[in-house]
């Protein structure tokens, strides 16, 4: 028989005052109603009879008092929770390690909602079994350990700590929890072991290490248990049916950026064949579905293709019911086209500026327009060297040296470092050099071959008729240019590796060539030109064609890099996510799709650290109402998805066999005592009613 006090000392004192109060009330003079009788002679003799010195008579008279006291006594006994306990802890100290990883969400235990609920119940029972001298601590662990309650014999605090424990979506790493327990059971020396002057900082305390888990963690073999006596209480069944998505990503087709391809891996961790429908949702709209049928242990890949130019949040769902639903859904996102910074150097080019200001272009482009004189400034030089801009457009002008970024030359050629004839002084000098080249080319083809390493004009200016278009190149997508009228243009010759995008009757009219990791695009004719009087003249009608803004957009997307969109990264639950945003932004909003976004302030380097990533899902980063970034949080952990509870785990250097999860439950008697209290009260009332009647 053991007792568990449910009241604190002050409460017990209060309860102790109750019987005293009852007795005092009995001693209090009862206010009796006076009644005149002819004589108290016979009454006195009657009362005298009752006063006979018999214990029974006395007891009979105070039976109500006795019954009341008995009821209080029984209530006090019930509050002491008498009971029979089964086994006792050998060491009187125990460390409860509670697995709070995602796999503990599995609903495969018969009496409880989940493995975690069962583990909590079992720990609760253990706490109830504790003696007053027993000490216990509670440590939860997923991919990190948390000491919810250090060693204490206060069952109330332990129960409170247990109530605070919550299951997470995180993967499992037991080592931290073992170290936490180890630190208390196996005190370390303050310095080297061999140091004779050093003593242990504390006495070693033996303790039972009770591990409540399904065993789904990396074996902690590199660990010395020392004074800890491990006991592994396996939670869950050894075979559990589970289809899991272990990988899911989405990428844009490199050649066709609007095409999105999603790939997923589905594994059957169960012991029987399983099939399911896999559905792909984009922003809660069903896009596609497929069926998978897998043998036990088999895995398969699933792919989907869809068209979307915008940023998208994808959700892949296994339409099947199994005990662990967390891995039946996976999330992926495609980052939006990034905003590009474009520096336009021109004396005035309205069609180009308009092209950069269309609705779609404005979304992805921040343009800065400067006059050619800007090229001489230090600011430009710093800017060009630092590569701040994603694209610099030189309209009828050319810099001395090429900037460390992509460039687009309109009616001008990039400077040739080795040719020595680069157009350094604008259109005029270029024109002159071009004429020379043309003359050379006509007269001596060898010279032309010798200079073929750099950019140069292949023909003098003249009317141009476009004859071919490389439609496979991203820059040329959706373009129709045969109807263009070009008054004056020159064929281009470029460095090795140059691609001809538009061919004219005189030669290549639009070429692109790689340069140290950057790309240079050269257009052989002006959009706007100046006549002899210095008046603005349209050199082509392209700006009036539909293909003009499309071309500008293509330039922004694929030359400036706005379309360098890739699959948004995926993180594990609980992982700290570092999001890089523009440092100029003062505030961004971050949150899971479908929930309220939280405001966060980026750090000095434009990095935002997101720690609230416990839940799986797609997360959005917004700046000024526009989507800035996307990332996804997924479990994607084969250990968590492989739900079978292990029969043994490796803890330290030994394998610990699972013991039955059930603890010999304590037989409590307080209910019987409570019934006794009720019976006493009923008897007391009946007796009172009988006497008064």
């Amino acid at each position: 028989m053991s007792w568990i006090s449910t009241l604190t000392w002050p409460q017990w004192l209060l309860l102790g005052a109750v019987p005293l109060g009852i007795i005092l009330l009995y001693f209090l003079k009862l206010r009796r109603e006076p009644v005149e009788v002819p004589s108290t002679y016979l009454w006195a003799r009657t009362v005298e009879d009752l006063h006979v010195n018999s214990l029974l008579q006395r007891l009979r008279r105070n039976l109500l008092l006795l019954l009341q006291l008995l009821a209080v006594l029984l209530a006090a006994l019930a509050l002491l929770r008498p009971g029979h306990r089964g086994e006792t802890s050998g060491q009187g100290r125990s460390v409860h390690l509670l697995d709070t990883s995602a796999s503990m969400l599995t609903a495969d235990v018969p009496d409880d909602a989940s493995r975690f609920a069962k583990a909590k119940r079992l720990i609760g029972e253990r706490i109830d079994l504790m003696n007053d001298t027993d000490q216990s601590m509670l440590v939860t662990f997923n991919d990190r350990a948390e000491v919810l309650q250090s060693f204490t014999s206060d069952r109330r605090r332990l129960r409170d700590a247990l109530a605070r424990a919550e299951v997470t979506n995180r993967p499992t790493d037991i080592l931290g929890a073992l170290k936490a327990a180890d630190g208390l059971a196996n005190p370390k020396r303050s310095s080297e072991v061999g140091d004779v002057n050093d003593v242990q900082v504390a006495d070693a305390l033996n303790a039972d290490l009770l591990l409540f888990s399904d065993g789904g963690f990396q074996p902690a073999t590199e660990f010395d248990l020392g004074n800890l006596t491990p006991e592994y209480i396996s939670i869950g069944r050894e075979t559990v049916a589970n289809l899991a998505i272990t990988a899911f990503s989405a990428e844009r087709n490199v050649e066709k950026p609007s095409e999105v391809q999603a790939f997923a891996t589905v594994i059957n961790y169960g012991t029987s064949e399983s099939s399911s429908t896999v559905s792909l949702f984009v922003e809660d709209s069903l896009i596609d579905a497929s069926t998978v049928s897998l043998e036990p242990g088999e895995e398969t890949g699933v792919s989907f293709t869809m068209d979307s130019e915008e940023a998208v949040s994808l959700r892949l769902v296994l339409e099947t019911k199994d005990p662990f639903m967390l891995d039946n859904v996976a999330y992926a996102g495609l980052t939006p086209m990034k905003t590009v910074s474009v520096l336009l150097i021109t004396e005035g080019n309205t069609p180009l500026e308009l092209g950069l200001s269309t609705e779609k272009s404005a979304k992805i482009c921040i343009k800065d327009v400067q006059f050619p004189s800007y090229l001489e400034t230090d600011e430009y030089k710093q800017r060009a060297d630092a590569g701040v801009d994603d694209l610099i457009i030189y309209d009828r002008c050319s810099p001395e040296t090429m900037p460390t970024t992509n460039t687009f030359f309109i009616g001008a050629l990039p400077p040739n470092a080795d040719a020595g004839v680069a157009a350094t002084d604008g259109a005029e000098s270029v024109s002159a050099t071009g004429d020379a080249n043309v003359a050379d080319g006509v007269s001596d083809g060898v010279t032309a071959d010798a200079d073929s390493k750099g950019w140069r004009w292949a023909t003098p200016p003249g009317p141009v008729v476009l004859i071919d278009l490389d439609r496979t190149h991203p820059l040329m997508r959706y373009l129709e240019v045969y109807s263009l009228l070009i008054f004056s243009g020159r064929a281009i010759e470029g460095p090795p590796g140059m691609s001809e995008l538009i061919d004219a009757d005189v030669g290549p009219m639009l070429c692109i060539a790689p340069r140290d990791g950057y790309q240079d695009l050269v257009l052989g004719f002006d959009i706007i030109s100046l006549d002899e009087d210095g008046l603005t003249q349209a050199n082509t009608n392209w700006y009036a064609e539909r293909s003009w803004p499309v071309f500008v957009l293509n330039v922004l997307r694929y030359l400036a890099g706005a379309a360098e969109a890739s699959g948004a990264p995926s993180y594990r639950p609980g992982e700290t996510v570092r999001v890089r945003v523009e440092s100029a932004l003062e505030e961004v909003q971050i949150g899971r799709v479908g929930t309220e976004l939280k405001k966060m302030r980026p750090g000095p380097s434009g990095v935002v650290e997101v720690v609230d990533t416990e839940s799986v899902g797609n997360y959005r980063v917004e700046a000024d109402g526009k989507l800035a970034d996307l990332f996804a949080v997924n479990l994607f952990d084969p250990r968590e998805s492989d739900l079978g509870a292990l029969p043994s785990v490796d803890l330290g250097y030994e394998a610990v066999e699972a013991v039955t999860g059930g603890v010999e439950s304590r037989r409590e008697y307080w209910r019987i005592l409570l019934i006794g209290v009720l019976i006493m009260l009923a008897a007391e009332w009946w007796l009172y009613a009988k006497r008064v009647a």
Partner: protein, 321 residues
């Protein structure tokens, strides 16, 4: 008839011009007559019984120990000089030639005493025990008056000293006036009251003690005193139904109306049972005491009509015939 009307008027104080019943009641206290005309009529046919033969004072209707002049022969005795020659049986002298005197029973009156316990405890019940006691005393007294007995109806205690000794039917109004004149209030114990009575009345006779016996000093000494005076003692134990089965429940403080004594009792069914048992034992002890001393014990419940008590119970127990 006129006599009764006078008595009734005296006792009820009804104005003379009001309608008078055919046979008026003898006395009333609170509107209820002590003796109703019907009862008076029945009482006239009754006679007090004495189990003993006493010597009276005056000529009466009772056989006396004394030899005297009556029609009932008693004995013969030898003539001694000086005897009344009228008593000599001449027939015997003629036959035996010796002188004998022929003796006859003397008939004298009977002394009847009704002692009423007028303690405060008698002022209880509905009707009050004292009222019932007065009714019974008046009834028995009237029976005695009708038979030319010497009647003394007296309260125990100081009120008893002014009790008139009555004789003859005409004294009924005096008796009723006396009964009407006293109430409860003199808490005299049975012992003191009886001793006072015994010291004032040396003669013997029939004595009826009307009491509730509720005397904390006990009733035994009082009864012994009466028995010791060679009296024929009758005890009429008057109890109200409320005393036999009290309608009290709950936590009560019982106050003795005589001495103000308090008894705190929690009255429940169990206590009531105990009380009834006590009453039963009390009555049984009185009965036993009386039977051992040739005292006739008559229990009287106040809810029983006086007519029934006098004409049935007292007859059965030989108090009247």
């Amino acid at each position: 008839m006129e006599f009764f009307v006078t008595i009734w008027r005296m006792s009820t104080s009804i104005p003379p011009d009001e309608t008078i019943p055919a046979k008026p009641a003898a006395k009333s206290r609170v509107g209820v007559p002590l003796l109703s005309p019907a009862l008076l009529g029945r009482l006239e046919r009754l006679e007090l019984v004495s189990r003993k033969v006493f010597r009276g004072r005056l000529k009466g209707e009772r056989v006396s120990r004394r030899k005297g002049q009556s029609v009932e022969f008693a004995d013969f005795r030898n003539y001694v000089p000086g005897d009344d020659l009228r008593l000599i049986d001449w027939n015997l002298y003629a036959r035996l030639d010796q002188l004998f005197l022929k003796l006859f029973q003397e008939e004298e009156d009977l002394h009847f005493y009704a002692l009423i316990d007028a303690s405060e405890s008698m002022n209880f019940g509905d009707p009050k025990k004292l009222f019932v006691a007065k009714q019974l005393a008046a009834s028995l007294g009237y029976v005695g008056l009708c038979r030319a007995d010497r009647i003394s109806v007296a309260a125990l205690g100081p009120e008893g000293r002014r009790a008139p000794v009555l004789r003859g039917r005409a004294s009924l109004h005096k008796m009723l006036a006396y009964l009407d004149s006293f109430g409860s209030g003199h808490n005299v114990s049975l012992h003191d009251g009886v001793r006072d009575f015994a010291m004032r009345n040396s003669g013997s006779g029939v004595v009826v003690l009307l009491t509730d016996m509720m005397d904390k000093q006990g009733y035994e000494s009082a009864l012994r005193m009466l028995v010791g005076r060679q009296m024929d003692v009758f005890v009429m134990h008057i109890l109200s139904p409320e005393e036999i089965d009290p309608p009290l429940r709950g936590d009560r403080r019982l106050i003795d109306v005589e001495d103000g004594d308090n008894a705190e009792v929690t009255i429940n069914a169990y206590v009531i049972d105990q009380y009834k048992e006590t009453v039963k034992n009390f009555i049984a002890s009185i009965k036993s005491f009386c039977s051992k001393r040739s005292i006739v014990y008559v229990p009287v419940r106040t809810d029983t009509p006086v007519e029934t008590i006098v004409t049935k119970y007292l007859r059965e127990r030989g108090v009247v015939r």
